[in-house]
Subunit: 339 residues, 6 copies
């Protein structure tokens, strides 16, 4: 099947195991945990794979039974795992108590000494991986984990630029990471210079550039222009805007700067959130799929619909099909049963 | 108990097993499946049985461990299973991925070569079954399965008419069935001539009569009058009208044509749907219970309340009591705990 | 930890086991039951313990494997169980079918011959338990169970008054209890004379005093004044007001009478209720915590936020931290993930 | 189906709910409990119903949601529940921590104030129930619960004797019951006079008669003869002998006294016990089925095979078919898959 | 990884879904079912894939959500699914009540009108699939399903013989299949002429050739010689011999005829069977792996160890690694924990 | 309760979370994990607490939701957690695939950068903890984790020796730990000089002393004498000897050297292992309980019975009561139900 579809997207990032007590329980209230494998970049790969594209994840996983399971799950989604390294360090993981209503979800991480933190540039044959690739997707999480992860990513971005691969960037800044010595905003700014599509908005631009644009439409447009001025490779910006009425009730819409134009999508409302994790990654996957198949306006609308749908899917990754996204994009949101 | 209650309702139709991954998961995300036995006519029987009436289901089930379980479940609800045939064909079943929010539920059927598809008129002693019956309920699903199911149903309707049994009809047309050669609308129209109560509305009338009445109040009234003109046995029409805000949020109200009058019920809103399957069957059971105990206006109100309550019950069948329906019918919808 | 925190709250009441089928199922639809240990006074102790205070529960539990588990769960929450008696009678319990939407939850009790019903004054060394206590909390459930429970509680209240321990009272009247011979309202009125803080409102005052104040603001104020007139020990009244849109959608706010002033909190809305049991107890624990740490206005606001949060926690007891209540109290109700 | 089979067995006894943590867990280790409905006499009825006979249970169940579920489960097995009374007392229940290996199962009961304890002779129309019955089965548990249960049972036995119904007795003596005042052994001896078949052995005879026969073959024969001498109605004795290597590994064989002859069955070994509860009841049902269909030797062999098979079935009741028992009785114990 | 390992095994056969109640329950005792995807040939592919070989399955799966899950599971094991057809017929499935001790497992199939039954020769590009293959594995189940399945397999065997692909055959005869018209033994004999390795023994040879060799060592040797005489392509025979003490306790050993020599493996005992399904397929996969890596004696020993280990793995397929099989093959069967 | 029992045992060691797929599944076969908190020294504390002694654990746990749950579980068992430090590092954990039959369990650790690895001597007030203690228990795992853990333990042992606290040592050597630089055998030998009771045998003595005594009775005696010669504080040695027939079938007996005499216990057989983890810790707890209450011979017998019983309990810790151990010690191993 991969033969028939020449569009290839490479993702680079940590594969994380997520462990959650079921049914909104506190950890101490449950004797079992549900688990999923995800990670922001893998989530993008999974979604694109379910959209029918060829995806390949570059990462390290543990050389133990947990890593075996991670590989198996990636394979189940159709992701090419031939470039996944097995290393003698445990797989990163996190525990999440899922919130509800006004109670926020709470997360405890165990990742800073994990398999991915030990990745180094010489573990990845970027030339070979990107040779036949069309897109390389990265996020601000990876360079925040370790010096090796940063160096490996930078190397990959250099090769992508040499080979003409389009780079999509989701440079989210997480202040509680970045413990290995480097300054996050400097690194993210450097890496943005290798990137072509920003998946993010005013928050990300302000963090990367040290600016303080506001969240108005004008603020967004000004921020995008400033970003293009500072990082001339950037051609477009796709941003997801969320309003959280509660942990269980969310509204999302998208806005974009096409380089010349401001675009706004419809707003979609999810009154009974099943899982909020990975909704941004679902948006990112939607953007990439859209860039390949649609114009900018439909790309934004598709990405927003994909993001909304992810709120209805358990786990970290968006498992919906193109058909399902198109249905929502075309306004079929009433939940009729498809027989 | 059945001794004390001489009102007997006979239902004819397929018993289906439903298999669903839990918690809004996709099939591939779960290693277990929840299962229920249902089927549109059995759902009516189950609900009427929980309302305290005597019900008997005419059907075929498989002569294997699945059929054993189906019989056991029917019995647990108090349905008389003495007229259920055991045949050497697998029980029909379907898989459902339960939707949420804007994500629709999706169903995959495995029924067209099942136990019920092999029913034939000579397998059912209709005279004996209907001898002491007051109502016979059928739907448009049964004659859509196989020639044998159609012939068996027609025979039953003939006997019912001979014996003075009131026939309630829910002639829903499902285009993806009807693969055995007959034209659905013709068959349904024929069978409507044996029926006295239509549980359905403009959609069903248009399908059966080939008309194109609109969904306005006037359209409904005109359609009902036309139906009565074409099928003079029909005395009343009870219709459920649904508005789906999402798979998780639904609104329902009922309208009816009493032969001389248009009736409208209050609208009920379910903001957190537990299970949408069988809500139409819950309405049908409510209508039948109402016809026995109430005037037309209360019948409609009772049926609508029953339909709304089914959205809060897992599985295919409405397990609520008369008391619970009356509480909702009387406006007690605030969810106070009953100690 | 208990060393560092000299504030001690003693609670007296039955520990009840709760057994519920999962996922809104009827009992007959499930082959497993989820269980929790709770009981209105223990719920208060659990919540206060999670707020960091030192709590001790006075009760009887069964001298069998169920009692072992009850003790273990109390300990897990940090409750001092050194004053719990083990007796050769089964632990009280109840079954609950959890409602949803317009379907109410239904409860079946099995408690009137249980371990707690057999408590007698000579089983409790009240002097020792209250010697170093700051608060004693009771509810109207305990004296409704048995003569022994009533006598034991009255003895405790006497000792508390002698030792200067503040008494908080939640004198809810449950008409289906009180089967051992005494008249509930008389007993409750008697016990109110030993109490200082009423956690309740017009309903409770009307029941205790036999009055019929209405539910307006003025009615509330008049009722409070009358209560203070009749029971001069009472200094303050904290009341929770609930509006149930459905079993799944609730709104709560608090009002209080400080002895000189009427206070009203903001209203909080829970659109997807996880568990309604114990929300009043969560409010009571919030009041007690507030009385220790805040002024009356913040006490009311804290208690209301605690009550709202309990709707998001499975089980009978409120397991949230002070930090989580403060977040909601300060308006952070949008459900952002805490990483 | 019941029409075709005129053999009717009536059972009288308590319906008990059993609650167990799964997977050999202690109660405190699990947040869920598995539950079953059983009770020694109902277990006999369930097994006989699965053997194709018509069974009717005389009992009281609670008039609440637990009783609804008990009724539903009895119905699911095909038991006639038309003589079950609903009363405003909780259903009896017990908690069991399932043992394994050398760890014994432990049970905590909650039954002495339950629905069945409140049964009285005037609640049962014994004449009508036994009019068309062939067998009445009782055990020593029922008269141990309450004076009312004893009186009701004695009345039933009297009527059975008047109507010529064969009475099978399993007069197990449980010392921890019998708390209502009567002396167990006296009552059991009285009731044995109304009985025709003893399902039990030296232990039961010694308890009832106050003798001290030993457990040898000769002891068994002497005890049976003495029993027949004291209770001349007794015609036959069927006894199950168990050797417990551990909670997980059991051996069983049967011995019988036919009135003139000693019979011994083969011994069957269960090396991986799934559930030990109800194995004696499975033997009793096997005896009754055998008395109807076989000679004494095959009856004993059938009963022993049924008893062995019950060790492989979760729950209190033996759900195997006649065909499955015959397979084991004929030596097919190797566990080949039946496709 | 597939790049590094040029050994490719192609399997042809139905992918079946298996649905079982957990914990030795009868279907009616559980509200959930565990499910697995398997099928005798896929089981071989899964095991070989876990042994590190490149496997490809030729089959039809349903074009619905069940088929999606089947594909996903095959992928998760690393099976090449690029030659799997999606067709508009439901996936075959079966229900199994898992036996224990002397209670046999019972199975109910639903497969004769499924996706695989609709396979036809023109749906498979055998030349391309086998071009780079080393082994083709088939069993007697496939040609028993439908004429199309038979024709497709025969075509594949012809191509395999043309291309020099080694054919391994497990010609088990199941009398309850073969409903489409052909005589099973004739078909199997025809297909054996295209095969090189028989995985089976006296039973299979007697069925295929119509002989009646006995189960002694001499009988086995004579049968093998006769098979080689009748089907000259056959070079070796590998047979698994099972002794079932009960459903939970099994013993297995292997015997083989190398064309010139009789070989016998050690016997392995499994006293606590976890899952008996697929143990023969595990043996077959062990034979194929052994033929590639070992001499005949070690091949037999490896296959027997693999078969024994499968009894400890839930589900249809053997998920153990080469390392685990070698440990058992070398006598490490004491169950020490591997840290 | 702690008041009444002045015997206090202090344990020092890591609290580990264990995560396992249920029902002998491979990780990839399950979407849920069962979890327990344990760790070799905590297991000893839990068991002693269930034996009614006062226990206190010295450790670090994570300052997050996982650490909250660990504290809660320790409390539930009655362990004094007032000396547990909360630190900003994740709690150590391990994944285990539970073996069965000849398939060994496999474990993957994630502990070397966890909360406990960051413990330092200045975090523990050993004087206060040991002031009123009778026993201090340590194992060879703790000093293998980190320099800080080693230093902290050595400090504790020094203080114990100064205060006259009896030190019990289980100096198991795990070669895959000890990654921080020190040589395990040297450290263990040093720490043995502070210890009074060895819980271990020839393996441990050989590792610690660098000797090569054999596993005969004479070898054991000679090894014990040599140990006493090299470490004069050692007064007694208690050793557990295991024979693993398979992962599911184990035999255990104990031997001891009392300083002057060799003692041997009976052998106990567990034919259906529920959980093998923590069986050595159960033996250690049995030894400590025995030293307090029994002579050496009964101590050994009690410890062996405790060890055997642990094989029947899910999870890491032995939750049985003194009564249950005594039953087995006295030969009651047939698994009769305790009602």
């Amino acid at each position: 099947m991969q033969m028939k579809n020449p569009i290839k997207i490479v993702t680079f990032g940590e594969v994380l195991m997520r462990l959650s007590p079921p049914d909104y329980r506190k950890l101490v209230q449950s004797d079992t945990l549900e688990y999923y494998f995800g990670g922001t970049e893998m989530n993008v790969a999974v979604s694109l794979s379910h959209f029918g594209l060829y995806t390949q994840q570059i990462t390290n996983v543990s050389d133990d039974l947990v890593g075996d399971a991670a590989i198996s799950v990636m394979r189940s989604h159709g992701i090419d795992v031939s470039k996944v390294n097995r290393v003698p360090h445990p797989l990163g993981l996190y525990f999440m108590e899922t919130g509800s209503g006004m109670r926020a979800s709470r997360i405890a991480y165990n990742r800073l000494h994990g398999a991915f933190a030990h990745i180094r540039p010489d573990m990845v044959d970027w030339e070979r991986a990107l040779m036949d690739a069309d897109y390389l997707h990265w996020t601000g999480i990876s360079p925040a984990i370790s010096e090796g992860a940063y160096q490996t990513l930078r190397k990959g971005l250099e090769v992508a630029n040499q080979l003409g691969v389009t780079v999509t960037a989701d440079p989210a800044y997480r202040s509680n990471l970045w413990q290995y010595g480097r300054k996050g905003t400097e690194v993210l700014k450097e890496l943005m210079h290798y990137s072509h599509i920003l998946i993010g908005g005013v928050n990300e631009i302000n963090e990367v550039l040290g600016t303080d644009f506001d969240h108005s439409k004008d603020g967004f447009i000004s921020a995008c222009k400033r970003l293009q001025s500072d990082c001339p490779n950037i051609t477009k910006v796709f941003d997801k805007v969320r309003t959280g009425l509660s942990a269980s009730w969310q509204k999302v819409y998208g806005q974009a700067w096409t380089g010349s134009e401001y675009i706004l999508s419809e707003e979609l409302e999810i009154s009974q959130v099943v899982d909020r994790i990975g909704t941004g990654d679902a948006f990112a996957a939607g953007v990439i799929y859209g860039l390949i198949h649609f114009d900018d306006r439909d790309t934004l609308s598709y990405a927003n619909a994909a993001c909304a749908l992810k709120h209805t899917i358990p786990g970290d990754s968006n498992l919906v099909s193109v058909e399902e996204v198109l249905e929502v994009m075309q306004g079929d949101t009433g939940g009729r049963i498809k027989r």
